[in-house]
């Protein structure tokens, strides 16, 4: 039963990494789009494609938090009392980001948009870095079972830096691929090329960092590396294959195909992390079974997750379909 709950939790993590990640990455491109004049069109596309979906995508984070604290309360407390610095900063960053985005939509004057837009875009880069660093701290076993781990080295360490940098890159990559498809839908060839170039660049950089990361893990988190290269190897390979194929097809195939491959690459690598550390919950210790809440709670969570599958997933599908079909007018 505890494994089922852990799978539910990790499914939430994957969903947030893909959907929330694409939103954060859109903020990355918003940040780097250049001056007011030059960056206007990419920003416009970011704004239009993000507006209807970002709140729904954001709920996945809340879903993960709730699953963790209800299903694995002791692990949740251990993580929170150890990694409170990056988590606290991420929480504040989330406020800045959401509010900045929502406010910018209403603003008209350039200087006002600049302030709110900067709040949105900067925090879009900072938050995934911190969340990635938190993942790195957990994966490398730096959260003691009873919590109260080192408040600094738990997130300032090689694996966390790798996690943070990878998170930012992966977000940027996913977003670039999504926005390429989005630009195609808007029949804007220039913008499509603009985002395609960036998909390509981030794909190459992400791949390189991931490869270099293997050496970081060998030195800093050998157990995680072991897991990645044994139990989780199929997923790691799948991720690599998806990523490479996406790279090769980027110029030729329909953006939709590339999009699916990119999602596959991200989902597989995040899932690979989960499989690599199985059956441990806190990286190298505290098994899922040890950390789990009593069975009835896990049942309740599974039922809620099943309800989410039955109700929320169709609703989100409806939202995405309407957004893709252009039934939602986000230009105001």
């Amino acid at each position: 039963m505890s494994t089922v709950a852990a799978v539910v939790l990790f499914t939430g993590v994957i969903a947030y990494a893909v959907l929330g990640g694409a939103d954060y990455g859109a903020g990355f491109w918003d940040l780097t789009a250049g001056g007011a004049q030059r960056g206007r069109r990419p920003r416009h596309l970011v704004d239009e494609s993000l507006a209807p979906v970002w709140e729904a995508n954001h709920v996945w984070l809340v879903f993960c938090l709730v699953m963790l604290w209800t299903g694995f309360p002791a692990a949740f407390a251990a993580i929170m009392t150890t990694l409170y610095v990056p988590l606290g900063l991420a929480a504040l960053g989330i406020v800045l980001r959401g509010a900045g985005f929502a406010f910018r939509k209403v603003m008209v004057r350039t200087d006002q948009q600049r302030v709110t837009g900067a709040a949105f875009a900067l925090s879009s880069v900072v938050v995934p870095y911190f969340l990635g660093a938190v993942a790195g701290g957990i994966a490398s076993g730096r959260v003691p079972p009873g919590g109260q781990g080192d408040p600094l080295t738990s997130w300032v360490n090689p694996t966390s830096v790798l996690g943070g940098v990878l998170a930012v890159l992966v977000c940027a990559y996913t977003a670039a691929v999504f926005l390429t498809a989005e630009a195609r839908r808007h029949e804007d060839a220039d913008l499509e090329a603009w985002f395609r170039r960036r998909s390509l660049a981030t794909a190459v950089v992400t791949g390189a960092v991931a490869l270099a990361g293997l050496f970081v893990l060998r030195a800093d988190a050998p157990r995680l590396l072991d897991g990645l290269l044994s139990r989780a190897l199929p997923l790691v390979v799948l991720s690599g294959v998806c990523g490479l194929t996406a790279l090769l097809l980027l110029r030729r195939a329909a953006p939709r195909v590339v999009q699916i491959l990119a999602v596959g690459a991200v989902a597989a690598v995040v899932g690979g992390w989960g499989v690599a550390q199985y059956p441990d919950l806190l990286g190298t210790h505290t098994t899922i079974a040890e950390a789990a809440a009593p069975a009835p709670t896990l049942w309740a969570l599974t039922i809620v997750a099943a309800a989410a599958l039955a109700i929320v997933v169709p609703a989100m599908a409806l939202l995405f379909v309407l957004a893709q079909r252009g039934s939602l007018d986000t230009s105001h």
Binding site: A36, Q37, R40, H44, L45, D47, E48, A51, P52, E55, H58, L61, V62, F63, L65, V66, M67, W69, T70, G71, P73, A74, F76, A77, M80, T81, Y84, G88, A91, I94, V95, G98, A99, A102, F103, R104, V106, V108, T110, Q113, T116, G117, P296, T297, W299, A300, L301, V304, A308, I311, V312, A315, L318, L319, L322, G326, S327, D329, S331, H332
Partner: protein
């Protein structure tokens, strides 16, 4: 409750993180709770306007619904992120609560997550669907927003109610949760009245606040149809909710008397257990005695048990190590009276509205435009928000020193690591910016709409046009 107190630890000096953690939680929750009515109840008013617009082919009502949806969109975004901070804070500030009781306490939040998902999805469809969806299907996408708002609020209140009357779990000898009965956790004894009380409060706050905004506009001479509708729709909803709320509040108080005697003693600021207890209006507790209050003979006993001989437990019935300090008692006592007092004022206002309505029953347009009435409505929103905050203070401060009544003291749940003051300071600064930003953005919208008048914005050609930076297209060429 007394037989359970052995579970909790011995009295110790408050840990140093307790004060900043409580300040921070209170500040962020107090901020978030003001946004709740606008995500939960305001959206219902928006749908009423939408319905009216479609049913009666009323262009003004449609413009109103469209504009309200834009306001709701901004407030929903701010509420979504400030709500997320609360989920982080539960772990960052209260790891003792989450680590020990997360298996029970977390269940209502899982249910809430489900509703939050639905709300986020349909809010987006509704807000952005105005122009390109067909009118009736678009209207129906708003309905899940209202329903999931009700469901989500109920679920969060269930978690709060559980802290007041914990149920649905079994502890082992070490105090660890070993068995959980999820339904008992959610449907605990305090759930029913707390949830209904909060939902009605949300409808009152949203109704009086929005009506207040339009009342100010009317007082300044803007009496177009938009303003009249904007006054009548929310005010009618609030005026219907208010008398029901007074009844529900009365039931809730009696439930608290039955089930949470310590909180009730704080509400009444009653030093000693007794019968024929007077109801003391105002007053503060100093050294075990209530001073400066006006007593209504037999009042408290009559209200609590409908019988002057009803015995009410005083603060002396609380074991000394769990007895709240006088300043906490006074906070709860005064907050309760503020809440009830405002409730009565709003009840009178609702009655006045009903009377004006009835008097104008033969006139085609029943909108009251009496200046004194409008002035009162203008104030009512602020009053309703104060009452909401006061009620929340009663239930939260009234539970102290417990975080889970009878099981876990707030001081035991608080974090022991980090510098909470720093985090608290950063949060206050950020939220101040958030509040200012929200205010500024709403003013901007108002300005834009004032320029457009009663027209839907897409009927207004020209306008502010393109801007060099950022995503905006011609603002005035687009609706909603």
């Amino acid at each position: 409750m007394a037989d359970l107190t052995g579970v909790a630890g011995v009295l110790a000096a408050d840990p140093e993180q307790l004060l900043p953690a409580r300040q921070m939680m209170a500040f962020t929750l107090g901020f978030h709770i003001i946004l709740v009515p606008f995500g939960v109840a305001f959206t219902a008013m928006m749908l009423i306007a939408n319905w009216r617009g479609l049913r009666r082919d009323d262009e003004a009502a449609l413009v109103l619904a469209r504009r309200w949806s834009q306001v709701a969109g901004v407030l929903f975004a701010v509420g979504a992120v400030s709500g997320t901070v609360l989920s982080f804070e539960l772990g960052l500030l209260w790891p003792g609560l989450m680590g020990r009781f997360g298996a029970a306490f977390g269940i209502p939040f899982a249910v809430e997550g489900l509703f939050f998902f639905l709300e986020a999805v349909f809010v987006a469809i509704y807000i952005y669907g105005w122009r390109r969806m067909r009118p009736w299907p678009h209207f129906w996408t708003g309905v899940p927003v209202v329903l999931s708002g009700i469901g989500g609020t109920s679920a969060v209140v269930a978690a709060n109610a559980w802290m007041n009357q914990p149920d649905g779990f079994t502890l082992d000898d070490e105090g660890q949760v070993v068995d959980v009965r999820p339904l008992d956790v959610v449907f605990n004894d305090a759930f029913g009245y707390e949830a209904v009380h909060m939902l009605l409060a949300a409808y009152m706050v949203a109704g009086f606040t929005i009506a207040g905004v339009y009342a100010v506009g009317m007082l300044r001479g803007r009496r177009d149809r938009l303003h009249r509708l904007g006054l009548v729709i929310p005010l009618t909803v609030a005026a219907i909710a208010t008398p029901v709320q007074v009844l529900v509040g009365d039931i809730a108080a009696r439930e608290v008397f039955e089930n949470e005697p310590a909180k009730f003693a704080m509400i009444e600021a009653l030093p000693e257990t007794g019968t024929r207890v007077p109801e003391v209006l105002g007053g503060v507790l100093v050294d075990g005695e209530v001073r400066y209050g006006i007593g209504i003979p037999l009042g408290a006993s009559l209200l609590a048990g409908l019988d002057p001989d009803t015995e009410i437990q005083g603060l002396d019935a609380i074991p000394e190590e769990y007895r709240p300090a006088d300043r906490l008692v006074n906070t709860v006592h005064i907050a309760f009276q503020v809440m009830v007092g405002i409730g009565m004022v709003l009840l009178a206002l609702s009655a006045w509205y009903a009377w004006l309505w009835w008097r104008r029953r033969r006139q085609p347009d029943r909108v009251p435009d009496n200046r004194w009435f409008l002035r009162c409505v203008a104030l009512s929103g602020v009053l309703a928000i104060i009452a909401l905050e006061a009620g929340w203070v009663v239930t939260e401060v009234g539970r102290q020193p417990w975080i889970v009544v009878g099981y876990l003291r707030t001081a035991e749940a608080v974090t022991t690591t980090g510098n909470v003051w720093l985090f608290c300071g950063a949060t206050v600064a950020l939220y101040a910016a958030l509040a200012l930003g929200t205010f500024f953005v709403l003013r901007l919208l108002r300005h834009r709409w004032r320029e457009a008048g009663e027209l839907a914005e897409d009927d207004d050609p020209g306008g502010e046009g393109d801007v060099p930076y950022g995503p905006s297209r011609a603002r005035s060429g687009t609706p909603a």
